[in-house]
Subunit: 349 residues, 2 copies
DNA sequence: GTTATTTGCTACATCGATTGTGCAGCCCGC
DNA sequence: GCGGGCTGCACAATCGATGTAGCAAATAAC
């Protein structure tokens, strides 16, 4: 093993090249033209730097320039198709702009979310994306104090530009589809469509629930309160709730509106224990798309949120320096059962 | 809107408290005891710092201490169940240790991988995890030059400790299961089991392919070269290859060993166009677990790699300062069709 | 009552890169 | 041959936090 050789600095390159540190700095960056460093000197310095394996110490640069080259994003969790798609797009877009993405997950806990924001501020991220914010106002307060440009994605905030899915449209479309495909026409509890999952206090779920209610009402089937089971996003609680529901009803209802793929995991866990014929007498929809969920034993209508589009739109606002409190909507897409969606990244794996 | 107020620094707190910057620094950190700052002073300073919303500038601290508090991980892609599980575990474990995780995806491109490593080195990450390395030796060379502790996960490297799945065991188990469930017993091309996906030059695939070969040979069915179709991990190429294979054979073979979930996406895209009865005459296995893939219209045997276990083990090596070139194996688990795996994070969503 | 020792704090150099300012040398014109 | 302008670079301050060395006052020792 070799001795502990520290990384080369501009001072090392300066010594080796006979130039001053400031000249080295200029030569290695963009500013050498305006600082009138001769092309010959620049090339000589760059050659030496390359030979020494020099790379800029971003902590020093960031300290001096008060910018870090980092761009932060907070997401609820990594282990989820929707959010990991956002991560993928977020990262690609960051790289296109020469920024380094830092993605952190909050587990949907407000306290954790704020701790993360504070941490990212400590690292002087240049911009911050907050996806699925649980406490947007507090986030905005912190970012204001740190003078940090931020933008909300998926769930809007009142203090910064926001890009969100058109939850109302997606939920209305899905609800209409479920109604149309409902195997029965009655209004008994078992004949009804139940919405399961999500948090009634978060923006996305609230919008979806409202649209669900509106469509049912408009169809002459005003929903009972018990038709809306906002039991959170965890698979386990979804499993518990769907089982309890089936118990109460004496079987599956005519339709289920599942509020996210994680909820669908829990629901599926229960459904998989039921006879297939029972399942086929129930129309199922899921807010979120998953390629495998599209090919389950029973058909599932899905709403694909445009994670890529959300991120693109958010970066566009950063690029164009949008500061107004705009609320940009991105349309989700209703996807028929057994349809294969070809993602923008599917040429990779 | 407020004026552009810069963030408070220790100098601001020093001015407000009447103490010197170095006293403030000590008081806000851990070192105040050994530096003999009185408890009264510490509390006064901390009160003022809290009131001013002070938080440490990590760039400055990092510059001074030559550590950043960052821990980096390179993964091939975010948008994948296995790797996003790793991200989730990686992040949780980093936070437990007071570190900030930075996760970047390489798209499995060696050049991108090295650029990312260089970038992370520029930011002075304290440790680096490389998952699915495409060029481990080059990574090790860069980390050595930067004096950076690193560890390989999922794919091993020769220059640093590695934690990998026991691919040979997982693949052997899966192959045996496919053989046992094979609907026919002949040895014509259509009676055989085909392995599709993966990159024959990467460690994981090579191990799996070798195990696949060995089990078939041992069973008296030595594989033809055409039975191994290492067409990469992209869904699109898998779709192309499985279609071509079915064309050649005049239908589905007796069994398919699918080398990853992304490959399964592509395969499924083709299979979904075939009559269900054809599918049921073919036994399918997939190296990787996905809860929805477990409940497709046809049974799929799956191998669940223990992403959480891999990360835990890797962090353990960091914690215990393991520097030897150990190669730690973590066992994957063969999961029967229609089995619900309950993840360590499934109480969240 | 004088010399050690301890206490509580401050001054200053430092990490590495950036940038405003300054200053030789050179060419030019007249 | 002298002022003015340009070229090509060096010097030094700066960003914010840390830690060593040191200093005055308080306390202890004898």
């Amino acid at each position: 093993m070799r001795k502990l050789t520290r990384k080369a600095t501009i001072y090392d390159i300066a010594r080796l090249s006979g130039a001053s540190p400031s000249t080295v700095s200029a030569a290695l960056g963009e500013s050498w033209r305006t600082r009138r460093i001769s092309e010959a000197t620049v090339e000589a310095i760059r050659r030496i730097a390359a030979a020494e394996g020099y790379s800029t110490n971003m902590q020093a640069r960031g300290l001096r320039k008060a910018r870090s080259g980092l761009v932060g994003m907070v997401i609820p969790l990594h282990d989820n198709r929707f959010f990991s798609s956002m991560s993928q797009s977020f990262e690609a877009a960051a790289r296109d702009r020469g920024l380094v993405p830092v993605i952190a997950s909050s587990m949907r806990e407000p306290a954790e979310e704020l701790r993360i924001v504070e941490t990212l501020i400590s690292y002087a991220v240049d911009y911050l994306f907050i996806a699925g914010a649980t406490d947007p106002d507090a986030v905005t307060a912190m970012c204001r104090a740190a003078n940090l440009r931020h933008i909300f994605v998926d769930l809007p905030g009142k203090g910064a530009p926001s890009v969100v899915s058109d939850n109302a449209k997606g939920a209305a479309d899905l609800t209409r589809r479920l109604l149309a495909d409902r195997p029965v026409t009655g209004a008994t509890p078992r004949d009804r469509i139940y919405l399961i999952g999500g948090d009634a206090t978060d923006y996305a779920s609230a919008q979806r629930i409202a649209a669900f209610r509106a469509v049912l009402t408009e169809a002459g089937l005003p929903p009972l309160d018990e038709q809306i089971i906002a039991c959170g996003y965890a698979p386990r609680s979804a499993l518990r709730e769907i089982a309890a529901l089936c118990d109460r009803l004496g079987g599956l209802p005519a339709g289920v509106f599942v509020n996210s793929v994680t909820v669908l995991e829990g629901v599926l866990n229960h459904l998989s224990r039921l006879p297939l014929d029972d399942l086929r007498a129930c129309v199922i929809g899921c807010y979120d798309y998953d390629p495998f969920a599209a090919y389950l034993q029973f058909p599932v209508h899905m709403v694909r949120q445009d994670a890529h589009g959300l991120i693109q739109e958010a970066y566009r606002m950063i690029d164009e320096n949008v500061l107004d409190l705009v609320l940009k909507m991105v349309e989700p897409e209703l996807i028929a059962p057994r349809t294969f969606y070809d993602s923008p990244f599917s040429d990779r794996g």
